[in-house]
Symmetry: C2
Subunit: 472 residues, 2 copies
């Protein structure tokens, strides 16, 4: 146990994770099994994700809208693979306004069937395409065990749903979305990851091809961090939606959907955390700087206020809570992962300096009042970059090539991480590898090159190295 009463980060990440989420007040368990409450500090992270991403989404010409929470059960049944994938996870409303409902209602686990039914009603001509609509909302997929942020019955997300005249255009949209997500992860959340295609068994239920962004966690587990799906014409076929093209003949729109959820916050917490608690990348940090006037030092508070006013480009908090020692305050904000802490005591007033402490390196820097703003700007940028570099290096250092099944198994037993290995792309082999090693296919990286290889398990001819790993 550390001084912040957290389980050990290195040897017991999953308990550390629960401890830090609860103690840093990011989230809590809800009275309903599988559900969680996102507390203000955790929700502020989601708000910063929304702000960053919503700009990118709108700039691309996607409009926000809001579709109903309740979807008639009969809608799911129109797309066979889709209903097979989602039926076991549905929450179903059977009573409304005091009466048993004739048509039972699913609480949306995703909105394809609801939205496309309305697209069909609204858009009947090629002139109406492309359709680009997104919604920020809650969705429900039943879970018995709560894993805060990572796996909960209800979560928040955005789901973009587009329709195009050609498959090429739709594919371009799928690629745009996953790159937009990767940008959000790197620039805002200082996280590195791999974009790649999901295997047939891991793709979206009812879709044609799915692209994922996989990130590697400190325990070597892989987190599917968001996805973008090429739906082909599968859904337009199921709901019988066609539009008139320029020549007057009918054509079925090509569709895609893409989603990014509060699960990402779980990845953020683990990717950067350490034995003292959270480490927030400055760009997403709800509070970037905390100023602590040393208790009992007379002029410290007024100086703190002055500094806060000078730093109005940043998100700054002063902690002058009574009845707490400076040490207790330091621990509290370290736990919350605030990137920079400024300490001010009487002595600093005399010397005209303050002490800045970096959360990521624990380094302490003495800075003159007049250099404060410039130094802070430099430090915040440096922390953001260093955290990204560190996560990228960790991911690369923990990506292992396995060219024999023994090697593969050994890696899974010892170091874990991503395993890069040839695979014949047969689902039988995939299932057997999972049974033998617990590793699942994570993705075929978008930038994978064609090679002459042999499947790591069966030895059949294989042309690409896939990434395997233990998934969350």
């Amino acid at each position: 146990m550390s001084k912040n009463q957290l389980a050990d980060f290195k040897t017991n990440l999953s308990e550390w994770y629960n401890d830090v989420v609860l103690k840093a007040e990011l989230a809590d368990y809800a009275p309903v099994k599988g559900c969680m409450v996102i507390r203000p500090y955790g929700y502020a992270l989601w708000e910063n994700i929304q702000k960053f991403m919503d700009v990118l989404i709108k700039k691309h010409g996607v409009e926000n809208a809001y579709f109903p929470l309740f979807i008639p059960m009969s809608y799911f049944e129109k797309e066979k693979e889709h209903v097979k994938g989602f039926a076991p996870e549905l929450a179903v409303v059977t009573v409304g306004g005091g009466k048993e409902l004739v048509d039972k209602l699913a609480v949306r686990p995703t909105s394809e069937m609801m939205m496309y039914d309305l697209y069909k009603k609204w858009f009947g001509s090629w002139r109406d395409l492309p359709v680009r609509i997104n919604q920020w909302c809650n969705v429900v997929r039943w879970e018995k065990r709560t894993y805060l942020f990572l796996r909960t019955s209800e979560f928040l997300w955005q789901e973009g749903h587009c329709a195009h005249l050609t498959h090429e255009e739709s594919i371009a949209e799928v690629q745009w979305a996953i790159k937009m997500y990767a940008q959000t992860y790197s620039e805002l959340m200082a996280m590195y990851g791999i974009m790649g295609y999901k295997s047939e068994s891991e793709k979206f239920a009812g879709g044609f091809k799915s692209i994922t962004f996989e990130t590697l966690m400190p325990n070597g587990k892989s987190l599917q961090s968001c996805t973008s799906h090429d739906l082909g014409q599968n859904f337009s076929r199921s709901i019988e939606w066609s539009v008139q093209d320029a020549t007057g003949s009918k054509t079925m729109p090509w569709q895609n959907s893409w989603g990014f959820s509060t699960r990402s916050i779980g990845g953020l917490i683990m990717s950067h955390g350490d034995e003292k608690g959270l480490v927030m990348p400055p760009n997403i940090a709800p509070t970037q700087i905390v100023i602590i006037p040393i208790p009992g030092h007379n002029t410290a508070l007024s100086k703190a206020t002055e500094i806060q006013n000078n730093l109005n480009n940043y998100r700054v908090k002063i902690d002058d809570k009574a009845g707490e020692t400076a040490g207790a305050k330091f621990n509290k904000w370290e736990l919350k992962g605030i990137p920079l802490r400024i300490e001010i005591g009487d002595r600093d007033m005399t010397s005209g300096t303050v002490i800045i402490c970096r959360r990521d390196t624990s380094e302490k820097i003495t800075v003159k009042f007049e250099d404060l703003s410039k130094t802070i700007d430099k430090l915040l940028k440096d922390i953001q970059q260093k955290l990204f570099d560190k996560h990228k290096k960790f991911t690369i250092d923990n990506t292992f090539k396995a060219d024999s099944y023994d090697e593969f198994k050994k890696i899974m037993e010892t170091s874990r991480g991503f395993i890069s290995a040839f695979w014949c792309e047969e689902s039988e082999c995939e299932a057997q590898i999972k049974t033998d090693t617990k590793a699942t296919t994570r993705c075929l990286p978008l930038d994978a090159i064609e090679e002459n290889g042999k499947c790591v398990r069966c030895g059949k001819k294989s042309s690409h190295r896939w990434l395997f790993g233990l998934s969350y």
Copy 2:
């Protein structure tokens, strides 16, 4: 029928309303009874409300969070009046993950019971107060008939929930909230309304006192446009939440809650609309200016783009859609209520001018290129102010004093509007007035003065004039 195929605004407001919501693509009916889809143009209004209000909420020290959608049925039963009020409107989940649930779950109609249970868990000391938490979310109150925006089974809102050490502080918060709402209505939505106390029969189920903001619609009906509730200690008593005060003894927190929903958009539509369709106040308008290069005029489009670039402080759209006449474009944007339309043809290029048309007055103004930005700034401010003034004047002109029951009845039969009348504050009289005239108590205005009056129905001594009206 107008040229935009709307029912008559003056004689058939309710059909005009449905027509305009559907045709301007603000919203549509959902396949589930009572539910609606908020389309991009309608959702952009909600986004602008969120943006405006969220700043005010945060400035006041309220933090955003997210609480679960599902509330165990047993929670509702803790507060007797609360469950009585909401039970008939609940949607209930009885199946989750393929299994019948032992504990049935209500889809939240409001979050008092869920949030306060967690407040009790989190906050045990007076040092933790005040608690100020808000959430933006969806809620469900079962409806059989959909009245787009105004009454739907699912709607979007924000709900603020605060807890204080004293009743005074809590009352101050209730007042702050209703004033913050009134500010949003006036500054953003150009709407005037009356703040006042609800009667005992109309107050929030389980609360102590409710304050409403009532706005008057063109047909003389009153719309309860948002509410702020003083909950007293009712809920802390029901859930047995007490905190230790500074002296070490236990005290129950004083609570309040306040909500503002997508219903407000219904009020916005009716308050400013006219026979041609929507009229958007510039501050909330998703598009403030539409530029229409006259089809077939060669240089118009490049000039339109130049103008759009110069007007980058405003929300501007160019409509260069092929295959539509200028007239069709004019109608389309009039229907959507865009505050200003700029027309550009070849002739304008020669003369160095453009024509601006105001949506609210239909006035056409010829403006030199170089004066455009200045003129637009002035025009948008003027439209915003004029729309507010007009709605205020309408409300005042349609507020009638009734000093006898005959007068009261006559007003209800002819002109409708707000009726200002003495009432003894007995629920029996209130019920009888409703039976006789359909009018309900709307509110006791916050600024009502004490007078010596007699109840308009029973003649008993009454000290205040209440507002009565026909409600939505």
